[in-house]
């Protein structure tokens, strides 16, 4: 039996992925040149959607919110991942704690939001009956903090796993040698562990940037972009213009812009971090 006949087994996956992933990914360019509400006949308008985006104050506002959200999420996320990975390393409770940290990422999102909402709601939340809870239903800043905390809560398990895998790859002899040479634990960390953790940190930074530029689910579930549009990140703005306002062509152009921004940021980070070395 020729082994090439086995190639045919890839056909179902290639077919489905080609039609429902690759084709829409390319097709979004065509939609982006349309004036189209989903119900109306599409009208080709060339690059007008892109011109509009460049002059759209709401677009710049969501871009700014997205960047603030990204910075607010990523810095504590990476720091926490490193600290936790270090604190857990070699402890008897390492496995069960890692398992628990991973759980929020898998459980039912809607259910998790309900728990967060009923716990943290400033008006009738459970926590509000014990301690004062900042009015995140009125303050855009605190609303963004809430979305940030929820995002970190969901992904911290993965962050710890990434740092921890790298930590375990550092040869123990290296650390022992440093200790023998009289390095303090702080020095060992600063000059040996931290530089060797760099690939893991870079990876988290790039992946995290990509995800935070594109995320909108937490915003949809917790704040719906509010209060006063203060948590309207790019992904949510895309959803709103496309499916609530009904400007699908414009939303398609926004999709392309977000993809280009993602590409730009990821490439810039990889480049910067490489040059620093």
């Amino acid at each position: 039996m020729g082994r090439r006949s086995a190639y045919w087994f890839a056909l179902p996956a290639v077919g489905f992925l080609g039609l429902f992933l690759l084709y829409p990914f390319l097709d979004v360019l065509r939609f982006s040149t349309w004036d189209w509400s989903g119900l109306s006949e599409p009208r080709p308008i060339g690059l007008e959607n892109y011109r509009d985006i460049l002059q759209d104050p709401d677009f710049y506002k969501s871009l700014r919110i997205t960047l603030v959200f990204g910075a607010m999420t990523l810095a504590p996320f990476i720091l926490l991942s490193i600290l936790l990975a270090l604190a857990l390393d070699g402890q008897p409770y390492e496995r069960p704690v890692k398992a628990l940290l991973f759980l929020p990422g898998l459980v039912t999102l809607g259910g998790a939001t309900v728990a967060w909402y009923t716990l943290f709601s400033p008006e009738y939340g459970a926590l509000a009956s014990l301690v004062p809870v900042p009015r995140w239903d009125q303050s855009p800043f605190w609303a963004l903090v809430l979305v940030t905390l929820f995002t970190i809560w969901r992904h911290i398990g993965y962050g710890v796993l990434v740092v921890s895998a790298r930590l375990k790859a550092i040869p123990k002899t290296l650390l022992e040698a440093a200790a023998v040479d009289g390095a303090s634990p702080a020095q060992t960390f600063r000059f040996i562990t931290l530089p060797l953790l760099r690939p893991a940190i870079t990876y988290l930074l790039v992946i995290g940037t990509v995800l935070s530029l594109q995320s909108y689910t937490a915003v949809f579930l917790l704040t719906r972009g509010g209060p006063f549009g203060g948590t309207e990140v790019l992904g949510y703005y895309l959803y709103k213009t496309g499916f609530e306002v009904g400007r699908l062509g414009y939303a398609a152009a926004l999709t392309v812009v977000i993809l280009l921004l993602t590409l730009f940021f990821a490439a810039a980070q990889v480049r910067l971090l490489r040059e620093e070395k």
């Binding site: 996956a13 992925l17 398992a99």
Partner: protein
């Protein structure tokens, strides 16, 4: 220093677990205590919140939606494992498609709401069950995970079986399927969680009452009665518990799968 580290881990564990503990606690609070606000001062236990969930009739109510979502997502998961397993076999046998799948892995599915909507509209599949199934019939991530697993199967084993006259069907079902059981389980749990947790997509392409997923049902209830936490928490708990149990059963496999993925 050591005790500081223990305390730090303890605090993080508490904060991460807090929403789960609260969810489990709030689901069983008697409704009258919620209305009076006495939620922590007295301990009481009630199943009233779960009873309320079934009030709208079975299929339109919570339990019907939970069953619908479980069957839908379960079916999609099996489909993804099936297409992924076959594709991984083709890759293992040398099909030059790995770059294709790796390229697809980089496409952010969540951003494709608009073009997918357009495609499904063109195919007249909007508001049908197919809109929730077909776009997820295959996943590059699952193909990749299963291919990673198949790479560890020694070639001699397959060669020996082939000399004995085994065809593709025998190789796949008698040899590779049992050997890849751990990877299939881990990939299955991840695929299940990914489809189960779609929030905006089902709302957009299949918003009708008959096709409502449990996720959408809970979100709608939260929009309508944000202050009525008893039933909300009961629904959240009932929809979350199955995933928690499946995860805890296979936790070791799943975490290892991620760790292996990081090495590759």
């Amino acid at each position: 220093m050591r005790w500081l580290s223990h305390a730090f881990v303890g605090l993080v564990v508490f904060l991460v677990a807090l929403p789960f503990l609260w969810m489990a606690y709030a689901a069983f609070i008697p409704p009258q205590l919620i209305f009076t606000g006495d939620i922590f001062s007295q301990l009481a236990f009630s199943l009233e919140n779960f009873r309320v969930l079934g009030q709208e009739g079975f299929w339109d109510g919570f339990w019907g939606r939970l069953l619908f979502s479980a069957l839908l997502t379960g079916g999609v998961t099996l489909l993804q494992l099936f297409t992924g397993f076959l594709a991984a076999y083709a890759l293992k046998e040398g099909a030059p498609l790995l770059p294709f799948f790796l390229l697809l892995l980089a496409i952010p599915v969540e951003l494709l709401l608009v073009p997918l909507y357009g495609l499904l509209a063109g195919l007249r599949l909007l508001d049908t069950l197919w809109a929730l199934v077909l776009p997820f019939a295959a996943s590059p991530f699952i193909v990749y995970l299963l291919f990673q697993g198949m790479r560890t199967v020694p070639e001699e084993l397959l060669e020996a079986a082939r000399l004995d006259g085994a065809g593709h069907r025998v190789l796949l079902t008698r040899i590779l399927l049992p050997l890849l059981r751990p990877q299939l389980i881990a990939a299955g749990v991840l695929a299940f969680a990914a489809h189960w947790n779609l929030v905006l997509y089902p709302r957009i392409v299949a918003g009708g009452k008959e096709l409502k997923t449990v996720q959408t049902w809970i979100t709608d209830l939260q929009r309508q009665n944000p202050a009525d936490w008893g039933p909300l928490s009961a629904a959240a708990l009932a929809a979350t518990l199955p995933l928690v149990i499946i995860y805890l059963l296979y936790e070791r496999r799943i975490v290892e799968t991620f760790e292996e993925g990081l090495k590759g």
